[in-house]
Structure formats: C-alpha cells, structure tokens
C-alpha cells in the first residue's frame, strides 16, 4: 500500500480487510481502467483510412522529429474506455452536490430539448441576419427577462462566464471614469469574504485592491468602508448575499457611501439564486452586476459547461455597454456590431456569446415563470436554513441564522479532536456525497460552506444531514484513524495533494522514455 506524505494510503480503494483483493483489480462492476495510451496496440485502428497521397511538405526546412504517438485502439475499446471514465464521474445528475457559492442545481431536461432544436444548435455566427431572426429574438427575449429580473437598463450577453463578466463590469467602470477625465482613481475596494476572482479582476484591470474588513456578524464593516472611500477609489465589488451566506443588510447605505465618494458599485451576482424574483439589484443601488446563467438559471457547469456570464448595467453605466447587442428595428432583429461614436470600450468576445446557454436559460425562466423563480429563491433559502438548523447542535455555524441560500460552518466543533475539515470532506465521499466547499471563505477557520439549492428534496437533505451528524459525532468520539483513512470506497484513496502540487506530472510518458530518463 503506498502512502502519501501524511502517511495515508493512496492505493486502490478497499474497505480494509472487509473487501478481498480481486484477481483483475476490478471491484465488482467498477473497472480499474488503464490510461488510453496504455491500451495502445501498434497498428490497430477503429476506422479504415485511405493511403496518404504523395504530397510536398510545405513547412520548408521544418521536419517532424517523432511520431505523434496516437494510441491504436478498436472502436469498442474506445467506447468502453470513455464510458468507464464517465461512470467514475460524480455529477449533479448522480446525487447531492452541496458546493457552496457554486449553485449546483438540477439542469432540467426541457432546457436540453430546446437547445437541441436545429434552429438554435445549427446556426453559425457569420450567417446573414435574415436567416437567424429566431435566434436573435431569443437573445432579445432573454435580455428582456434579465433586465426585468434585475431592474437594470441594459445587458450584454457576451461574457463567457462569471469572471469574464466581472472584467466587463470593471472595464465599464474604468471607461466611465476615463470619459469624465477622472484618472486619479486607482483603487477598487473588495470585502474580505469576496470570491477570489474579484480582487483578481480588479488587478487585471490595473487597479490596486484594498480589503474591507468584516463585522463580527459576517457583513461589511460600513464604517471601515467609509474610511477607505475617497477620490482615489474607482468602485466597490460586493457579493450579495455574501459568501458567508448572509444578506448585506446595510447595502443601501453602502451604495450611497460609494456613490457619494464618486465611485461605482459592482455586484458579484454569483449568489443571485438566493434573491432572484424577490429583490431587484437595481433597487439596491447597484450600477453593474454579472449573472451566472450556469448557476441561477440552471445551465450546466462543472465540466459540463460552458459558463455564461451576462452583465446588467444601470442607467449610470448603460452608455458603456459593449457590443454586440440585439435591437429590433422595423420588425426585424439586428445585432449592433459597432460601438459608433459612443464611449463604450468595444467587445468582450469575438461573437455574441454562448447561444446554447441562452436557449437553456430562457427555457428555464419561461418554464418557471415569474412566480416560479420567486419560488426558486424561497426554496433555496429554506433548504439552506433547514440544513443549518439540523446541524447547528453538532457543528459550529460561524454566524447566527437565518442564512440565505448557503450556510457556513467553521472547524470549532473539531477543536482538539485531531480531525480536520479536509478529513470530514473525505469521509463524506465514502457516504456517497460530493463534499461541500472547504476552507472558503477565508474569514472563518476551516470553513465548510454548504449550498443545497432548491433541487434537493427533504428526504435527500435528511440523508445528507444524518451522515454529517454521524461524522461530527464520530470525530468528537476521538476516532481519528477512521477519518485519516478516508475515503476507503473510492477508486483511489487519499490523494497526495502536496506531492501533486509540488511535483506535478503533467504529461504521460511511454515506459521506454521513463526507463531512458531513469538511466
């Protein structure tokens, strides 16, 4: 049995002596699958390819030095390989996925059906506009829904995902200051509990980042914020509800203070699921906000993406809306491709954004309706509060409830047990759950951030809570060995994360090369 540097087994999963080793290494119908390169059989090929015709090399003096090294396999081998790998995957389609601040919700099959309609799936961005009127109308309708739900004046659908949306918003803020000739604003304020992408975005846009401390109840310290505001501050980036799962109650005062100092208010919309249909961000004084279609509006993410991060603009920043966007003129839809003489900064992407995700998101909105989206937020918040209420006597909530769409615990309940947040997460895998977000946000020690979403039924939450309660009690009973040996039932046991980060192996090398390298 190989061990990682914490002395924990890394070999193939087996529940210690209870499960015998098998002859094949397979565990029942869980196949111990080699890499596709290790299944290479020289000369084997799944298709008949024609002989390569004689041709002149057009690379000048550049010549290939070695074979490309594609493995040779028959079609059934390839199909089995990828099917087996997919069986090892864990997805929202397999079970509860309570990854905090990620909103891993069910992707309704109706969305998929709509997105596969040939009129949406087979269009090309360079087609004449007269042949894609339906697709443009869909984008226009989606834009209408997003503006209505947020109360905002304008929207760009182009950004490819959340962080790209943040970049779009901060570029708009920068353009607005520059258009006024106000070049002395060099700072963006970001609360301590922010998503890591917020300070990264500000830095990528050329700003320095100043951190705003939190109050003991997990919210932005308004007085500390006011003290940092001034003629050198371009804006504030805030998530509401924040990553502690708490609504920023003083958001109106926060917006007023930022505006009073001449700055703009960016809202990270990653947690919009908690308030969609119930609160309009424009009413909170927000100037610009991104929306993750792949969170709130149920388009796939976590490897199944792509993401999509439309950005809504209040009147204050609407003139800086990037191109392209859809307009309706004389009954026809048209993409505005040129910024014209306006102050906008250009475009975020070569084309108009993720069409397939627009279809899915609009299918979600229209199938739920306004009342249904209101219910989504209500149920998401109810589920998180149910989890918090059921766990608060055995685990330690970081802040008093009620919470919003996610509940935050820290590791005080593990103090003195020798068990860590990571160990709890690994043991949870053996129980058949994807772990919660760990060690984030950084404002509490050993964070465990749980976002169940509205997808989960009471029965599924009860099973999750029962497992977590039992694990918390087991940790307190001093059974450290159990936790340090987890996970036991997975295809691989505890991975050597340190070794993987310090000495990453980024490329498969054939055994012959390995032997050569060792000489």
């Amino acid at each position: 049995m190989s061990m990682n540097n914490q002395g924990r087994p890394t070999g193939i999963g087996s529940a210690d002596s209870a499960v015998p080793d098998t002859i094949t290494g397979n565990r029942g119908l869980q196949i111990e699958e080699p890499l596709i390169f290790e299944q290479d059989s020289a000369g084997r090929c799944g298709v008949d390819l024609p002989e390569v015709p004689a041709m002149r090399m057009r690379l000048g003096t550049v010549k290939p030095r070695a074979a490309v090294g594609l493995p040779g396999l028959a079609e059934p081998q390839v199909v089995r390989h990828y099917t087996r790998l997919s069986q090892k995957n864990y997805a929202i389609d397999s079970g509860l996925y309570p990854l905090g601040s990620c909103t891993m919700k069910h992707n309704p099959r109706l969305n998929e059906k709509m997105a596969r309609l040939p009129g949406f799936s087979d269009v090309h961005p360079l087609q004449p506009e007269s042949t894609v009127q339906g697709a443009l109308e869909l984008m226009d309708t989606l834009a209408h829904w997003l503006k209505t739900l947020t109360g905002m004046a304008a929207v760009t659908l182009a950004p490819a995902a959340g962080a790209h949306g943040e970049m779009c918003g901060i570029m708009a803020i920068r353009s607005a200051h520059e258009a006024r000739g106000d070049t002395g604003r060099t700072k963006i304020l970001v609360p301590e509990s922010a998503h890591g992408t917020n300070p990264a975005t500000a830095a990528a846009c050329g700003y320095t980042v100043e951190s705003i401390p939190a109050t003991p109840d997990g919210r932005v310290d308004l007085e500390a914020l006011k003290a940092k505001l001034g003629p050198d501050v371009a804006g504030l980036m805030l998530t509401n509800p924040n990553t502690c799962g708490l609504f920023e109650r003083e958001i109106l005062e926060i917006a007023e203070a930022v505006h009073g100092a001449g700055g703009y208010f960016y809202c990270d919309g990653a947690n919009f699921n908690a308030i969609v249909g119930r609160v309009r961000p424009a009413d909170l004084g927000i100037d610009v906000m991104h929306i993750n279609l792949h969170k709130t509006f149920s388009t796939p993410h976590g490897g199944g993406g792509p993401g999509s991060g439309p950005v809504v603009f209040a009147e204050s920043l609407a003139p800086y809306l990037p191109v392209p966007f859809v307009v309706k003129e004389k009954g026809d839809f048209r993409l505005v491709e040129e910024a014209g003489e306006g102050p906008a900064f250009g475009r975020m992407k070569a084309f108009h954004g993720q069409m397939g995700m627009f279809v899915r998101a609009l299918a979600y909105m229209m199938s739920h309706g306004a009342d249904g989206l209101w219910q989504v937020a209500s149920d998401a918040v109810l589920n998180a509060n149910y989890v918090m209420a059921r766990l608060q006597d055995v685990m330690t909530p970081s802040f008093d409830g009620p919470c919003m769409h996610e509940c935050l615990f820290d590791d005080r309940f593990l103090k003195g047990t020798g068990v860590t947040t990571l160990d709890i997460a690994k043991a949870l895998i053996d129980e058949g759950f994807h772990p919660m977000t760990m060690y984030f946000p950084l404002v509490v020690h050993g964070a465990l951030l749980i976002e169940p979403t509205e997808t989960e039924s009471k029965a599924s939450l009860d099973q999750f809570v029962t497992a977590l309660r039992a694990l918390a009690e087991r940790a307190k009973s001093g059974d450290v060995e159990y936790f340090q040996g987890a996970p036991r039932l997975t295809p691989r046991r505890r991975l050597d994360e340190t070794g993987a980060a310090r000495k990453p192996i980024l490329r498969w090398t054939p055994p012959a090369e390995q032997a050569q390298a060792a000489e």
Binding site: N5, K415, Y439, L442, H445, E497, T498, A501, R502
Partner: protein, 124 residues
C-alpha cells in the same frame, strides 16, 4: 540581533541595518503543506505593510507583507525548488528574503517573541 513579529505572522531578524524575513512557525502550521513560494526580485524596494511575496499551500494562497521598508538584497535560493523548507523550518532554513532597512524606527511597532506568542494564543 533581535527577532520581531507582525500581526500578519511574518518574522524579521535584524542584524545591523540588514534583516532576514520569513513567516512564523504558527503561520506555516495554519497554512499546511506549502507547495509554492514567489519571492521578490533582488533590488526591489519594499514598503512596510505592502505585498512582498506569495506563499501557496494546499489550502490557500496568501500574501507575505514587508514587516518594514527596505531594499531586497537577497532571496532564499533554495525556496522555489523546495517549498517544504517553510514547513520544516519556518523560522530558520525557510527564510524568504533579506532587506537593507531604510527606516529602522519602523521596527518599534512590531511585537517581540513573547508578545507574538500571546497574540497567537488570542487568535482562537
């Protein structure tokens, strides 16, 4: 020779107008296994309290701030190849960089070992 500590868990060992800087043993325990360290360029001028280096562990990436102002005169050549030195000897072999102090009076605001120990105990 005096050793001082900051509230952000850096230590600084002063010898004349030169000083060696690293992160405290408490900080390395909190970080867990360190997997990457980014050091400042030699010759760079650091301002007290501003970012000087980055330390990344399996749990998180954190900034290391300059405890006092000064010019970087050396960085630990071993650290980029072997970041585990921070875990093995945070306050010895795992040092980050050396500074030539530009304003030694800034040292007065830092904690001595006893005060830092008390500060750390108050963290939980």
């Amino acid at each position: 020779m005096t050793v001082k500590f900051t509230k952000d868990h850096e230590w600084i060992r002063v010898e004349g107008d030169e000083a060696t800087v690293g992160v405290s043993d408490y900080a390395q325990q909190q970080l867990g296994d360190v997997v990457f360290v980014e050091l400042p360029d030699v010759g760079r001028t650091l301002e007290k309290g501003k970012e000087a280096a980055v330390v990344e562990s399996v749990k998180a990436a954190s900034e290391v701030f300059a405890p006092v102002s000064g010019e970087v005169i050396a960085v630990n050549p071993e650290l980029e190849a072997d970041p585990s030195l921070v875990n093995g000897g945070a306050e010895s072999a795992g040092w980050f960089f050396k500074l030539r102090l530009t304003n030694p009076s800034e040292l007065d605001g830092l904690m001595d070992e006893a005060a830092y120990k008390e500060f750390v105990e108050g963290q939980h």
